[in-house]
């Protein structure tokens, strides 16, 4: 199985882009973004990342994943 490095990078990158927002809103925006623009199989890969290693994601990306029911 692939280690989904790219998905990991993308999720972290989105979370960082909302870094200037208050955390709660940054999580919401990140989750919205992933839901709006990611193919379901990419979201599944994100779920796999969360299941395997929670430290692979920064806190906002991780929380966003959880908000989307991916972990």
């Amino acid at each position: 199985m692939s280690d989904h490095k790219e998905i990991q990078r993308m999720a972290n990158q989105i979370a960082k882009a909302f870094g200037a927002y208050p955390e709660e809103q940054a999580i919401k925006e990140t989750a919205n973004h992933i839901k709006s623009f990611w193919d379901p199989r990419m979201r599944k890969q994100l779920a796999e990342i969360i299941a395997r290693d929670k430290t692979a994601l920064n806190p906002v990306a991780l929380a966003a994943g959880r908000q989307l029911g991916l972990g």
């Binding site: 993308m10 990158q13 989105i14 960082k16 882009a17 200037a20 709006s36 193919d39």
Partner: protein, 961 residues
């Protein structure tokens, strides 16, 4: 049958005055705006005053002395081109005295002009000949023995005044013997094009047109835009195609297939053969101007390399097998269905093209959503302007430039960010340069000293040569100055923008970490210059931002678009003429392909697929259930192909194997596909990996529309039947049908009617309306039946403008000791995108190969000389190319183009991409440059593929043949 379209030449430009003046010409009253010339006023009445040096695309000059008139109560015979109208004056355009004077002038002209009219290329289109006829010239009393420019030898000896024909330019000739020194070419080069390559050298009888320093045209600064050729009233400057084929007999107005300016052209024809492309004066985008690509580089459309037969093969190592359309369509449909059966509905998808019409793109995305039953459709805008879509939607509410091109005429300060309009968007650049010569002020934000930073009669007040990858830091610093120095337009912001978002943004941007001084070390731009530029933009009147891929193709591309939108809102520079945030789109139909629902998350008109109301509408009109989940974007398709969940791809008119970054990654993705279908004119780089090749149509055969960077929907009219037998949309509709979703259209117009039905911003668009009005800019609907030149007037599309926080996050691509330089890629004037079109024209005269531009210091420390071969290495690959020493490059930054596949610029470009849209970060790749004396491995690999993967099987002869 179409006739040859000839626009009326009023002789001098239109006056914009609102005060009207009434005068009398030859006993007829005429009322015209103040400032109109008598010549133009006469033409309004239909009276053609004889003229040679005047034409309405440039200011009057008054040199030919042919347009003389008499004015009651005034002395002498003033030139009607330089004499403005005055209330109540009585003008006579024809008297015996005037006729004598005009004949005398013509006689002098003709005494130094060859009399080879019958064999002259301008025969049938010569103003000099027309004027000789108009003034009734019957004899030339002076003879030809005297001093002249006509004959190589005079009176038995060499004629030092004679100059032979200059045929150096691949597209036109310059024959000084036929020149009447009217200066129209010189003025066209100055006033229309703004290059100043031509001048009149010498005095009196020695006066002559000189390109550069009396060089040949190709060696001079001439950019071959064709304005001088168009302006020439004689055969002095003539298209080689006219010399070869003669004058056209009919013409059709259509739209150029190159950049996002979307110029209107008259395709001038004989039979179904194009003999010349002439810019169309009534074209809204270009108003009669052109560049070297649209005007001259159309020969690719009939190039021998063009494929005319559908082809299939089982394996990409097999030779291609020519088949019938039916067989190719069945083969495609069967393969795609089999893949979906084995690997799931989401295992196939398509990429639409910005080089295809709105109608063709619409049909492809419909095939994906309705026949493939998924949303795996994306467009090549993914790799150029997708951040524009995201950024402008978030802040303003819709994904498009805010102005029409004409708006630049009212700009007081122009800020160009990450764009090189004189190369990438030359016809718009000419318009911009004209405004700059009139006094508009200029700020350029670009690592390179692009031509517009300093060119004849233009100089940027501030050039901010930032480090590649620090756009967001610079725009934050600019906004910081606006906010902290009290330059925010408070009234505007209070009325037009979301107050909470503004308050939060104001606090964020005012933080000292965003000050020019704090960011200087990161951006490399002097803080005082950033401050001065910000003050200029905020206070000099109408401020207009124009930007290109130097903004979008970054890991923070979308953030930067929002940063510019913030800056424009804070300074009140949105919602009227002369201002705005304007993307300069790369390809002709980037705007259109995005509008047409090519993104995996959006239907036409930028409406998300998860919106139930919108999806219901489409399900009803298309009579099928639609998937509410977003599909794969191009880079995601590549990753999914390598993962194995994506197996079939339809590529419409794009060459992803050459244009997309990290070529090896792209190639291995393409190799993983079970079925790759390429619809294109040529067997391009992508086709090397394809199983089905569907020959496409050139723009000369298409029946549809392109939408340019100013949202202008222009007609693309067929001037000949599809050479391979079928419109591209028909091929796609038949594939969809063969896959079980019946689709059929009888014309481009019918497809547009469906687009109008499902897209509120296109509701008022029809081919009938476009034929009637020439073009419209969307939104075009009941609220704006003739379109919308300026957007966000009064209020933003989203209601209130939204300020977004734009935190600067440095890219992960970093330089180090192994890769100390940064590579940025871009393009140049004579070539276009992957070069599939322009490489198949004489434009290679200007750019035969991709070169690496490098700063003299960086070259010297590496022992690199002008013209030496170098190896360019990044973390992911290496290529070789020739070096050019260029002091317009900043130290530490190198530049190349991606027009030639053999160079393979994208073999080395980074895999990083924009956080929001996955638009690749083409503009920042850490590299090393070293001298080299051998071709790269890439070149060897490419050459092998070029021969092995592009073979077409020769059909065996059967006995009956």
């Amino acid at each position: 049958m179409d006739t040859l379209i000839k626009e009326i030449d009023y002789g001098t430009p239109k006056s914009d005055s609102t005060r009207m003046v009434t005068l009398e010409i030859d006993g007829h009253q005429v009322t015209v705006p103040e400032g109109t010339s008598i010549m133009r006023a006469a033409m309004e009445l239909g009276t053609k005053i004889p003229k040679l040096c005047a034409t309405d695309s440039m200011k009057s000059f008054g040199s030919c002395r042919l347009c003389l008139v008499e004015i009651e109560g005034r002395k002498g015979t003033p030139a009607s081109c330089t004499t403005p109208v005055a209330p109540g004056i009585k003008v006579k355009t024809q008297t015996d005295h005037l006729a004598d004077l005009r004949r005398g002038v013509m006689e002098l002209y003709i005494s130094d002009h060859p009399l080879d009219c019958l064999t002259c290329a301008a025969n049938g289109d010569c103003e000099l000949q027309d004027m000789a006829g108009a003034v009734g010239l019957r004899e030339v009393r002076y003879g030809y023995e005297g001093d002249n420019h006509v004959f190589a030898r005079s009176n038995g000896s060499e004629n030092f005044r004679y100059k032979p024909k200059d045929e150096s330019n691949p597209y036109f000739t310059f024959d000084p013997a036929k020149c009447i020194v009217c200066s129209r070419c010189v003025r066209a080069c100055e006033e229309v094009q703004g290059t100043f390559a031509l001048t009149i050298d010498g005095r009196g009888f020695a006066s002559h047109v000189s390109a550069g320093m009396d060089e040949d045209f190709l060696a001079s600064e001439c950019v071959s835009c064709g304005a001088c050729v168009q302006a020439c009233p004689t055969a002095t400057l003539t298209e080689k195609s006219i010399i070869a084929k003669g004058q056209p007999d009919h013409s059709v107005v259509t739209t150029c297939a190159y950049c996002g300016v979307g110029c209107s052209f008259k395709a001038e024809m004989k039979g179904d053969e194009v003999v010349r492309m002439m810019p169309y004066k009534d074209g809204g985008a270009n108003e009669g101007h052109s560049c070297v690509k649209g005007r001259f580089a159309w020969g690719y459309a009939t190039h021998n390399d063009r494929m005319m037969k559908p082809m299939v093969r089982d394996k990409i190592t097999d030779p291609w097998r020519e088949v019938s359309w039916d067989e190719a369509i069945d083969f495609t449909a069967r393969r795609f269905k089999e893949i979906q059966t084995r690997h799931g509905v989401g295992s196939v998808g398509a990429i639409t093209s910005s080089r295809c019409t709105n109608e063709e793109v619409y049909v492809v995305q419909k095939m994906v959503r309705a026949a493939f039953h998924n949303n795996n459709v994306d467009t090549c805008a993914r790799v150029c302007h997708s951040p524009t879509g995201y950024g402008l939607s978030k802040t303003f509410g819709t994904s498009a430039g805010t102005q029409d091109f004409k708006s630049v005429d009212k700009a007081d300060v122009i800020m160009i960010i990450g764009a090189n309009p004189t190369d990438g968007h030359p016809v718009f650049a000419s318009r911009m340069k004209k405004r700059l010569r009139e006094g508009a002020r200029l700020i350029v934000v670009d690592p390179r000293r692009t031509d517009i930073v300093r060119s004849p009669h233009i100089e940027a007040e501030y050039h901010l040569p930032l480090q590649p990858g620090t756009n967001v830091a610079v725009v934050n610093a600019l906004a910081h100055v606006v906010v902290t120095e009290g330059l925010v337009k408070r009234d505007y912001v209070a009325e037009r923008c979301e107050p909470d978002d503004f308050a939060r943004w104001e606090k964020f941007i005012a933080d000292p970490k965003n000050s020019p001084e704090a960011l200087e070390a990161i951006t490399g731009v002097k803080a005082e210059d950033v401050r001065a530029a910000a003050r200029l933009y905020a206070t000099a009147g109408n401020g207009a931002i124009y930007y290109g891929l130097g903004v979008t193709e970054h890991s923070q591309g979308s953030t930067m678009v929002m940063g510019m939108a913030n800056l424009a809102m804070a300074t009140g520079n949105i919602g009227r003429e002369g201002v705005g945030v304007n993307p300069l789109r790369g390809q002709n139909n980037v705007q259109g392909s995005c509008d047409m629902g090519s993104f995996p998350h959006e239907f036409t008109g930028y409406r998300h697929i998860s919106d139930n109301t919108v999806r219901d509408l489409f399900e009803k009109v298309w009579s099928t259930a639609l998937d509410p989940e977003p599909g794969l974007r191009i880079p995601n398709m590549f990753s999914a192909a390598i993962d194995g969940s994506f197996r079939g791809l339809f590529v419409q008119g794009e060459d992803i194997a050459q244009s997309d970054p990290n070529t090896k990654h792209v190639n291995s993705a393409l190799e993983s596909l079970e079925c790759l279908v390429v619809q294109d004119l040529f067997l391009n780089e992508t086709a090397a990996f394809a199983h089905v090749f569907l020959p496409g149509t050139s723009f000369l055969e298409k029946d549809g529309t392109f939408t340019n960077a100013e949202r202008r929907i222009n007609r693309v009219r067929p001037v000949m039947a599809p050479k391979q037998g079928m419109q591209e949309w028909e091929v796609v509709a038949r594939i969809a049908t063969a896959m079980g979703y019946p689709m059929s259209y009888s014309s481009g117009a019918e497809i547009m009617d469906e687009i109008a039905k499902v897209t509120p911003t296109f509701a008022g668009v029809s081919f009938e309306k476009l034929d009637r009005l020439g073009s419209v800019q969307w939104p075009c609907n009941d609220a704006a039946p003739e379109g919308t030149p300026t957007m966000h007037v009064g209020k933003f599309v989203r209601g209130k403008g939204r300020f977004m926080l734009t935190e600067f996050v440095a890219t992960d691509e970093r330089t180090n000791r192994s890769f100390p330089l940064i590579l940025t890629t871009g393009r140049i004037l004579s070539q276009y995108n992957v070069g599939a079109q322009t490489r198949r024209t004489a434009n290679v005269a200007w750019h035969p190969e991709d070169v690496l531009e490098i700063h003299p210091h960086d070259a010297e420390v590496r022992g690199i000389r002008e013209g030496s071969m170098v190896s360019l290495t990044s973390r992911i690959g290496a290529i070789t190319l020739r070096a050019v020493i260029a002091d317009r490059m900043p130290q530490g930054v190198v530049y190349t183009t991606f027009h030639h596949p053999v160079t393979g610029a994208n073999v080395i470009t980074t895999e990083y991409s924009d956080w929001a849209t996955n638009c690749p970060e083409y503009k920042v790749t850490a590299v090393q440059v070293t001298p080299s004396n051998q071709p790269s491995d890439w070149r060897t690999e490419w050459e092998q593929r070029e021969t092995e993967h592009k073979r077409v099987a020769i059909k065996p002869l059967v006995a009956a043949e």
